[in-house]
């Protein structure tokens, strides 16, 4: 597995890929943090897939990195796209047959690849968190938001907690992307299917057809996890749901990968 992990990192450190991916993660985080702080109010409003930030939340010790949580859906979509294009790309370029003639243990290859992608996203989110902090302080000062709690010792703990919650949520998005890619063997179709479901289909279910499912569906659970729990789903429930969905998706991806012939 370590060999597959190290091998995958050769691809992840390609300059253009790394720069593009990090730019997307950092760009979305900074942009949404900026909008969230500038538009924060006492009640909090949800702007489409963006999380809600209230002034009450912003003045807490974790307020400095709250923008990362607000951006979690977009960060999840970026992660989904990175995982999906990485996995599907192996089939569209045919490189999967080179890989599997060197390391035929397919689960080892898949696990090594997944862990490498997770560490890449973890690094990217850490940079995004740093960027969010860098813009949050001046913007909050400009808006007259009290930032005294952001420099306390608990601010670091809260920041770390937010980072881990967003990371777990992104890993789930990524695993869904990898699974869709494994099923479709096409980056474009996998990304379209992922975005279509998480941004459109699930929203349609929640808002029109089946509102009671807000407590159970994947995108809702992942958002709640990234926010550290919300009014609909507690943190513990969100963690359990996301873990179940992620393990289920990974099991599907692994089964398909192991059982299907490589005809690419």
């Amino acid at each position: 597995m370590i060999a597959a992990f190290r091998s995958e990192w050769v691809k992840l450190t390609r300059r253009n890929f790394a720069a593009g991916s990090l730019a997307a993660l950092i760009g979305f985080s900074v942009a949404i943090t900026s909008v969230s702080i500038l538009r924060a109010n006492d009640t909090g409003t949800r702007h489409g897939p963006m999380g809600q930030l209230t002034l009450t939340k912003l003045v807490t010790p974790g307020g400095w990195v709250a923008g990362l949580g607000a951006a979690s859906t977009f960060l999840g979509l970026v992660t989904l796209a990175i995982f999906a294009s990485n996995v599907a790309g192996e089939f569209t370029t045919g490189t999967i047959r080179s890989v599997l003639t060197v390391e035929p243990r397919r689960l080892t290859v898949l696990t090594g690849k997944t862990v490498a992608l997770v560490t890449f996203i973890a690094g990217g989110l850490a940079l995004a968190a740093a960027a969010v902090a860098a813009v949050a302080f001046p913007l909050a000062s400009r808006q007259g938001i009290d930032t005294s709690a952001w420099t306390t010792t608990s601010a670091l703990t809260e920041g770390l907690s937010t980072y881990l919650n967003v990371l777990l949520s992104c890993i789930a998005w990524g695993i869904f992307g990898a699974t869709l890619a494994m099923l479709t063997r096409s980056s474009a179709i996998a990304i379209a299917a992922g975005v279509g479901y998480f941004l459109l289909a699930e929203q349609l279910l929640l808002n029109s057809l089946w509102p009671s499912t807000e407590d159970y569906l994947p995108a809702s659970a992942m958002s709640a996890l990234a926010e550290g729990g919300n009014t609909s789903i507690s943190f513990g429930t969100a963690l359990g749901l996301v873990a179940a969905y992620t393990l289920g998706a990974y099991a599907v991806a692994a089964t398909v990968f192991v059982r299907r012939g490589i005809t690419a």
Binding site: K11, R97, S98, V99, P104, G261, T263
Partner: protein, 305 residues
């Protein structure tokens, strides 16, 4: 398990839905030999190679590669180098980094990369992106990748595709060198003159079925060699043709001579019989056996012409 065989396939069959790609295919590849794997497009060559490499599972039948069953590819693939259906690499990575992906995966030392790049003639283009390589260079990188772990068995699917004449000669030399060092090679190619130049043995398939398998010389002698016999008087052609038919060989009359499907060793006997029958031959020659013609004969009729 037979230690003298690099590959032993028995009744390999693969179906995709209703379509049979390979049917009851059996053949052997002796260690240390270069074997040509030939057949028309869609004959099932790549499907067979994929089964041997564990990329797809056979619907029926078995095979052993380097003494290990193909349902356990991890037991033998570390000793096999392969180029399957053309070179497949990450387009935005350099040639060097593409090979680094594979050496890390195989847990090989990175120093091996420079060695195989030099063998493939790509040392000075190692830092260029794969997408900027010419077709020939891509092919060379594929061969370099197949050589990365100094394999006991090399399976190459169309290795000379896109190579210029000099490159083809280099690959031919490389395959001969590898064979002399004891490496077994299975090479699939449409370039039959190349196959004839480097291979000891041939496995010929069509419509997923084995058509012929054995020594190349045997194939050419039994199916391909042609004698040309020209009598002094063209009026003797029918009598000469009768002599040939009586001996069990086929022939066809041309303007002033007969073309006879017979081994060169029969030429002296033909000359004796012609003289005994009062026919004087003004020309008796053996045309070199031609794999291309033999291939066409076998694949269009299923039997020698």
């Amino acid at each position: 398990m037979n230690d003298t065989l690099a590959i032993s396939a028995r009744g390999l069959t693969k179906t995709f839905g209703d379509q049979r790609a390979v049917t009851d295919l059996s053949f052997d590849l002796a260690r240390g030999t270069v074997t040509g794997f030939v057949g028309p497009n869609g004959a099932g060559k790549s499907t067979t190679i994929r089964m041997l490499l564990g990329l797809i599972r056979p619907t029926a039948g078995t095979a052993e590669v380097l003494g290990c069953a193909i349902d356990e590819p991890r037991r033998y693939l570390s000793r096999v180098g392969a180029l399957v259906e053309g070179p497949a690499f990450y387009p935005h990575l350099s040639g060097y980094r593409n090979l680094l992906v594979l050496t890390r995966l195989a847990q090989q030392p990175a120093t091996r990369i420079d060695e195989v790049l030099a063998v493939a003639g790509l040392a000075d283009r190692a830092k260029d992106s794969f997408k900027d390589y010419s077709l020939g260079m891509k092919q060379r990188l594929g061969i370099a990748a197949a050589l990365l772990h100094d394999p006991e068995l090399l399976i190459l699917d169309e290795p000379t595709n896109g190579l210029d004449p000099a490159g083809i000669v280099e690959i031919r030399t490389l395959l001969r060198d590898l064979s002399e060092r004891g490496t077994s090679v299975l090479v699939s190619s449409h370039n039959l003159s190349e196959i004839q130049a480097v291979c000891h043995r041939i496995v010929l398939i069509q419509h997923g079925r084995l058509l012929w398998s054995g020594e190349l010389d045997e194939l050419l002698t039994s199916h391909g060699a042609t004698l040309t016999a020209a009598p002094e008087h063209t009026s003797d052609i029918p009598a000469l043709a009768t002599l040939v038919s009586t001996a069990g060989y086929r022939c066809s009359a041309r303007d002033d001579h007969l073309e006879i499907r017979a081994p060169g060793s029969w030429a002296a006997e033909l000359n004796r019989q012609a003289m005994a029958a009062g026919i004087t031959l003004r020309e008796l020659a053996m045309r070199d056996a031609n794999l291309e013609q033999t291939f066409l004969d076998l694949t269009t009729t299923g039997a020698p012409a």
